[in-house]
Amino acid sequence: MKFLELIWAALNIRRVRTAFTLVSIIAAFLLFGLLDSVRSAFAHAGEGIPGADRLITAAKVSFGSPLPQSLQARIQTVPGVVAASYGSAFLGTYQDPKNLVPVEAYEKHYLDLYPEWYIAADHREAFKSTKTGALAGETLAKKYNWKVGDKIPLQSKVQQQSGDTTWTFDLVGIYRIDNPNLKAMEGILYINWDYFDEARVAEKGTVTWYTVKVRDLDQSDPISQAIDALSANSEHETRTQSEAALYAEWGKQLADVGLISGSIMGAVFFTLVLLTGNTMAQAVRERIPELGILRTLGFSRRLIMSLILGESVLMLMAGSVTGLIAATAAVQVLKAKLGPSLPMLPIAADIWLRALAVAAIVGLVVAAIPAARGIRVRIIDAIAGR
């Protein structure tokens, strides 16, 4: 592209301004990359879960409303269901009210449905056989420096028969989740449902959700309907969906990360358009005589237009590529610093594509008006500096 030299020269002549503009473009795309990495971490939260032959049955009114424990036996009678287990969840704090620890209480065979959670066989066994036993995710254990054999005292609003507000568990093992999309779930403490239900005062005999393993995932729709039909018109109607679908829904619900990052991006790009638009307008205005000379030498209006648009697009492309490279590095550093549970995905190909498309469009948009104005000037006026 022989005209690239002219474009490059035009950018090079106002080096300081180009540098400033470039820095702000880089900053915008760095932010774009980071936000998009968070957004896609949530958007993809439900993807790539091995053993997704599982359905989750929860209360229809809202996830978290209690369901009767007795439903387990009935779910197991639904054709196509291999196994059904359940769990309850509550929130504890460790030492400081700020240190929230999500706790999930599982029925004895619950973890059998999650073969992909890595748990050493002896830890799995110890969990089953220790009533007050608990399993901590690798991330969680690391965070509070818990070791197998430790007693873990947690504060919770969930009342105990004893009247004690402290729930104490014996850490009998560590589990690990290798799927990077689900790494955030390593922050949960697993305990035994039987112990939990026995010790608590309220809502005895209820569970928060059922996990249902099916024989054939293709049959999950009719099976889900059959399960929900069991409780139809009762006081605890259920809603059953695949585990992946549930995670994806949570991803969306989590304060709608997409919307938030979308509006931040909107503000950033609005500013970016103003800034680069101003730079381009100024750049064209200053070069009217120069453009007049090029036209005198035989450059057509269309060619001049393309040169100006090319200049703008090149600037934005360079900025966006640099910004995304910076974002890639930043994600790695943040992950290394704040742990793998940070909900950020590496900058993926689709982020690159989207960013480059945005860069190209912004580049064209901000240059179009100055360029149109620049070539409307008559040659004789342009070279006379009128």
Partner: protein, 246 residues
Amino acid sequence: MPLTHSEARAAKPIVQMHGVKKIYERGKQKVEVLHAIDLDIPQGAFIALMGPSGSGKTTLLNLIGGLDSPSEGTIRVSGKQIDQLGEDELASWRASSVGFVFQFYNLLPMLSARKNVEIPLLLTKLSAAERKRHALTALELVGLSERAEHHPNELSGGQQQRVAIARAIVSDPKLLVCDEPTGDLDRRSAKEVLSLLQALNASYGKTIVMVTHDPKAAEYAQSVLHLDKGSLVADPPSDAKAEKRA
């Protein structure tokens, strides 16, 4: 029997203007800047165009060079009628047929002398190597080979104007139009530039139309045209007496 070279020149003027008027509109006011100009410029001529400020010299030159179109009348250059051409046609005609030299050189500051000279060649199909070769040849012609990689701000005014001349001739047009090419130069640099134009006229057969205020500069031309208030006049207006070359 074929015409001799000089007869051919005389028979076919390179520039033929007939009844050329130029009217500028300033708001609602219309100003006729050129009044029905008839002018033939022979092939191979070196003509100085003189006249008081505002008499329409630049306007006339721009019409000859196809930078602007007349309000009335016809203009033919090398037999091609250019007064009715559209913007794009005119642009590509200019690229191949006319070289321009301006008072303030109008080089692109961020490009080296050679790259400046190469600009018109970007519109041709020449390869990068060929463009470079042509540009260096043109720079050699104006005596600036050793300054090829210098930028305009590293060159004197006279040198910059010679680079501009190299740029004007690099695509080998028959016609050069120069608007006060020495207007910004000291006497010595002006002499160099004028000698260069003279050489291009004499040795390379370039037809040159040069606007100048300077009678000394006009002496380098073969003939002088006088423009006064938009009309060509036989004698110079009294305030700007030009002497004929001895």
